[in-house]
Structures are given as C-alpha cells and as structure tokens.
C-alpha cells in the first residue's frame, strides 16, 4: 500500500503562516468561546483521585463560575478507573466522558487486554475512547497490526453498551517524521473510523506533543478522506497547547484547511488541562479589561 508523502519544510512553512493571522475583537471573543467548547478537559496522572476528577467535572460544566454564558467543555478525559466518577459527576449534562484505554500510554500490552480495557471503560460510562496505537509496530513496518488493532477497538466501541466514539492517538512525537504521521493517519482512518471518530496527536506523555505541523498533516489527511468518501473525521491535538493564542492559531488552521464544518466540538477538540484557564483569562480581559490573577481562577 502506498501513502501520500509530506514535505516537512513546506508543511512547516504553511503551519507557521496560520500563526500570522491576526484575530482581534469579535473574532477573538468568538474564537475563545469556540475553543473553550472544544476542550477535552484532561487529567491523566497516577495521583488522580475521585475528588480530583469531580473538581475537573465541575470545571467542565461551568468553566467560569462568574460567567455562566461561557460554554462547557466538550468532554472530561480520565483513566478507566475514574470513568464512573466522571460519569456520575456529569450526569444530566451533555458533556462527554472520554477514557484513555488500550493500555494507555504505551499500548505495549496483549491486544485482548487492551480490548478488555476498552470494554470496561465503556461499561463504566465512557462514551468516547482515546486509544493508542502500537508505534513500535508502525515503525517496524507492521502496518497490518495497526489496522487490526484499530479495527478491533472500533468493533468493541460499536458493540459494547451504548457504544462510544473512537479517538486514535498516533503519538506523533514517537513517529518522528511527517511521512509516518501521514501514514499512521491514513491507516487509522481506513481501518474503520466512521463519522465523528477522531485521530489525535499525542498522549501528552511524550515530547514533543501536538505541534501545528503534525496537526496540519492530520487535518490534510482528514480532508482527503472527506473528499474521497464524504465522511467527516475529527482531529484532536493534545498536549503542549497551553495558551489562548495557540488555540486561536489552531482554529485558524482548521478553518482554512477543512472549512466551516469542522469548527465544532464534534469534529475538533483540544486535549488540554491548562488551556481553559488561559482562554478564560483572555475572555475576562475582553469583557472587563483586566486579566484575572492565578488565584482568581479555578484550580484543577
């Protein structure tokens, strides 16, 4: 099977050009609010506890306790053991519960174990699954294994309980080249992703995490798939996006690469924990002309 290639120099040049767009006044406010609605509020630490997750869920529902018009987050993303807590805390809202699974973050477990991981997360209440692929297999040329693990995971997502959307984490930091990112994106999408499933850059455990360049490569793969099939796949950059300004650059890239249809949390997400607070800080500055201090924002 042959895959499209990517020239890194020009791809980076294009990605850098999006960051020169000047987003001001109304466009900035609209962009900040849109970005907030696209955040997958994430905590993925060994130290996570139910109380920590409940705090995060509260933040997802009401990101700014002083301004209820601020849109809720798109999802809360946690480890499988904490899915139940999140599901409970988010009851009655439309916020999704996302669980990392399939032996996150390395994926170095037997497939049966990884699929069971998915099954249990869905049964515990997750309606979005963030899976990891076997990067080692991809780098050693075993494309079929990636195809098989994505297809199997998708099967479990469709057949378990009320089902779950699938997000395939490529861990671009370990794939290293844009050609590999393109190849992994094509394999994942063609292995059976359906509309509103996602490809996602990173686990957040490997540096570099999301960059404009790799995200552009993934957006372009999604665009090509749409042109061919009409199916809309989502994209989720994760890790390393901490500032509102960065988020706006990403939105510019989505707008100018995939167009209006992707400017929705159903098809574009930010995997982040710190980003929300900077978005809120910028919104408050727009609203009141002052920046909020660190202690004036919700922790979690």
């Amino acid at each position: 099977m042959t895959f499209s290639t990517v020239d890194r120099v020009m791809a980076d040049q294009r990605a850098a050009a999006f960051a020169t767009r000047s987003i001001k006044t109304e466009a900035k406010v609209a962009g900040l609010r849109m970005a907030l609605s696209m955040v997958d509020l994430t905590t993925l630490e060994g130290a996570d506890s139910p109380e920590k997750v409940r705090a995060l869920c509260r933040k997802a529902i009401t990101p700014d306790p002083f301004d209820e018009s601020v849109p809720s987050a798109a999802a809360v993303c946690v480890y499988p053991t904490l899915v139940g807590v999140a599901r409970e805390a988010l009851r009655g809202t439309s916020i999704n519960v996302a669980s990392v699974a399939t032996g996150f973050p390395s994926g170095q477990y037997p497939l049966e174990v990884r699929l069971d991981d998915v099954r249990r997360a869905i049964e515990a209440g997750a309606n979005e699954i963030d899976m990891v692929i076997s990067r080692g297999a991809l780098l050693s040329g075993d494309e079929d294994r990636i195809r098989h693990e994505v297809a199997s995971t998708k099967d479990v997502c469709v057949s378990t309980g009320e089902g779950a959307h699938l997000k395939v984490i490529l861990e671009t930091g370990e794939l290293s080249t844009y050609d590999n990112v393109r190849m992994a994106s094509e394999i994942a999408i063609d292995a059976g992703l359906t509309e509103y499933d996602f490809i996602k850059t990173s686990t957040g455990k490997v540096a570099p995490a999301a960059t404009m360049g790799v995200t552009l490569v993934m957006l372009e793969t999604v665009r090509d798939h749409f042109l061919k099939t009409g199916v809309r796949i989502g994209v989720k950059p994760a890790g390393g996006i901490r500032k509102a300004k960065q988020a706006l650059h990403y939105l510019v890239m989505v707008k100018e690469t995939l167009g209006d249809d992707w400017l929705t949390p159903e098809l574009f997400r930010f995997g982040a924990s710190g980003l929300s607070n900077d978005l809120l800080r910028q919104l408050r500055w727009k609203r009141e002309g002052v920046y909020s201090a660190g202690w004036d924002q919700t922790v979690s």
Partner: protein
Amino acid sequence: MNIDAELELKMREGDAPSASEAPEPDSIAPDLGPAHEPAPPVVHELRFGNAWEYSPAPETTKVEIAKSYGHFINGRFSEAGADTLDTVNPATEEVLSKVAIAGKKDVNAAVRAARTASEKWAALPGAERAKYLFRIARRIQERSRELAILETLDGGKPIKESRDIDIPLVAHHFFYHAGWCDKLHYAFPGRGRGQVKPHGVCAQIIPWNFPLMMAAWKIAPALACGNTVVIKPAETTPLTLLRLCEIFEEVGLPKGVVNVVCGAGETGALLSQHPGIDKLAFTGSTDVGKILAKIASERGIPITLELGGKSPNIIFADASIDQAVEGIISGIYFNQGHVCCAGSRLFVEEPAADEVIEKLRIRMQSLRVGNPMDKNTDVGAINSKMQLEKIEHYIKIGQDEGAQLESPTSADLPGKGYFCNPCFFTGVQPGHRIAREEIFGPVLAVQTFRTPSEAIERANATPYGLSAGVWTNKGSKMFDMARKLRAGVVWCNTFNRFDAASPFGGYKESGFGREGGVHGLRAYVKG
C-alpha cells in the same frame, strides 16, 4: 452572526449519534466488478464560509508622508518644484504625495555628486565602508514598521508581506554586504588586497514590484565594492527609497555616495545615457532592458539586466501534493503575481493533474483579497491602474483563446482601488499567449505533461529563463531537472525563496548578471 447560539445548537445536536447510527458515507458505491461502468463520482465539497469570520485587523500606525518630495542629491533633499508626478495608493486611489520629475539638470547634479564622492568612498578602508552598511541595516530594522507601512501604502502589497518579507530582506542585504566590504579579495581569488576596484558611478533603475528590496539589492553590493550610486525608483513607488535616504542621513553616509532621482521613463533615459556613468544596472521589463543594453554597448560600459520571466513550476505525480499546491500559491499569488520570477506556467504530470487542480481550488478559497493594510490580507492591490488593465486584458485574451478561467477565491473586491481576484486557466496550450507572455499579475496558466523530458522541453520553450520550480520526492529526478532547466534559479520543493547569499538572475531574455551572493559582487567590480 451569533456564534454562541450556533455553538450551543451544535453542542445540542452534538449529543452525537453513536457510531452505529452514523450516517452511511454516500460515496461508497456498490462494488460492481470490472465488467460494470464505475458509478459517477460523488463530489464532496468543503465549505469555506463565515462560521467564524476574522474581524478587520488593520495596521493603524500612522506614517507621515510629506505633501511633496524632491530628489536626494549630494546628501540633500531638494524641493519638489513644479514638475511633479502623483504617487497614488493603489488600494484607495488616493494621491499620497507629489514627487518631482528629474530633468537634465537634476540628473547632471546627481551624477556629478556621485562622481565627486567616488574617489574618497572607494579609498575608504573596507572595514570603514562596512560600518556604514551595518548602521544602515540596523536603522532599517529599527524603522521596519514605518518602512513596511509606507511600502504597502505606496505599492499595494499586503502589509503581511512588506512586514515579513520585503523589509527583513532589505535589512538582510545590507547586513550581508557589510560583511563583504573588507573581504572582497577573498571573493575574487588571485587578486590581492586593494586589487579589487569599483567601477565608479553606478546608474541603477529599479521597478515598482519590490521597491525598497530592489533598491537594497542594487545599492548594497555597489557600496560594498566602493562604488557610488545614482538610482531612480519607479514612478509609482518612490516613497520608501526616499525614506531610506533619511536613514542614509541619520547614519552619516558621506554625501553623494547615494543619490536618488525620481521620475518616469524619460528620467531613466537621461540617466542611462549620461556620459558620466560607469556602469548600468536595471531591473524591469525586457523591452526597456533591450534599449538599455544597446545604450550600454554603444558606450562600452558594463550592464546587468534582470528582466521579465514566464517561469515554469513543475509538479511530478510523486511530489508531496499539498506542499506543491502551497508552492503554486506562493509561486504565482505572492505579491499579486507582480514578481519577475513568478511561477506563472504550471506544469503538472498528468496522473496528478486532477488532484492538484482540485486542491488548488480548495486552497484558493481561503485566500483573502482586499485591503493591503489588513494584517490578514493575502492578496493586496494591483500596483497601478495601467497594470490592472493589462492583467484584465490578458484574462480576456485567455478566454478568447479558449482556455477555461477559474477564480475560486471570488472575494468581494473593494469598490475603490485596483484589485483583481487571483485566478488560473486550465485547458491552456503552449501556443496560447497567456502561456507565453509575461502578465505580471495573479494569473496562472496550467498545463500538463507526461514525462520528465517533455517537462524540460516545454519548460525551456520560452524566451525567458529567470526561475523554475520542481516538485518531486525523488532526489535523482530533482538534480536531473535542475541541471537541464535553463533558468537562473531552480527551486526544489519550494518557490519564491530569497536570500542575500544566494545569487539571483536570468538566462536569455530574462537578462544577465547576478544579484546577491559572491556572484552579485562581480557586477560591481572592474574586470
């Protein structure tokens, strides 16, 4: 529009259908097997609308422009006098200022000043000349915003380009050549220290597409080698060069080392025919270049010419297509296509043609055409009314010749000012005028080819030879193409990249001599 309401709506709708309910992709046609005709392809279109519209982001810093400008001769700005030209903001059609037209007297004075300054300037140790060039470069950086704004006001190019490309390159050229001043004997092996001699007085005539950049490309190497200069900016874009003269004053450049005479073609004729000049350098149209070449040959003075182009941009099917499409955009729509080395002839290997054109269409939908002072504008104003008429004339010729015009950008153009939506032609044959003649606007002629040798043959079938682009993932093919293309610059998997250290110039009717790099110094030393 109310984005919040819509977002909320989307969120609610976004109680997303589960995977099993997700709509069936409608293009997966039943597999009918090879015996059946394939189903007609379903077209899936991306929507580039106003779901999230950028707000205006105008550069609001005010730059002072005098009511009128004279020339800069012997370190002094002269009064404008009665004989002036209007310089117009092509985006608004407003007159920005009146600029004097240099007659015989002014040109004489300028050449005399340059002659007088010549001996001392040439005798200055290289390291001393370098200090001036360094100071000029630093002042350009310090005043870069002002220069960028002025360049955009006077010429119509997007502020994004004047800010990020033109002015940084202007400074870069002075920095680069400052470094050469005391190392010239290394650039010319076999000649000892002090044996690299300047010509004396250089007459330079520059165009309107990169007003300050062209000035820097010409002034910096001339000064580095110890020459003095009389330079004439284009009549539509004199303001930034005049502003550069303020910088010359600020850094204390000895008077007469650089002199600026403003005006149109007649002033250019006076300057180029002046018996007091020792060297002629011109960037502009091939027609004028031919006249100047004749003048120089009669006088027996050296000349360098950087003229027109109709440069091929060649995309092989094995190229990274998305990046190649980006290269088409920067090749032909950069600076409204007012680029002598613009990739105005696109050649695509047949198997990739449909994909390239489809992606070009998509890409062009997010080009933003309009107010050049808006920081988000990608394609600004056409430099002058005359140029706009010329471009429109060629677009009509293309249609009359039977090529198909496409303009996917279709922005609402401002009511005032000179604007043209970027466009391309398909169904172009090599014999069409739009495939042969330089349009100097955002108009691309798309053709296809089947083999590398056919690509070479068709790319070289032009009187011009300024630049070329090659897009392929295969290194050996790249080097083979680069060797066979008759062009001064061959860009590999990129286009329209400039660097002061890299020589630039043409073959055939695109001129001779190089600007930039070690090669560029040769034009400004004797022998």
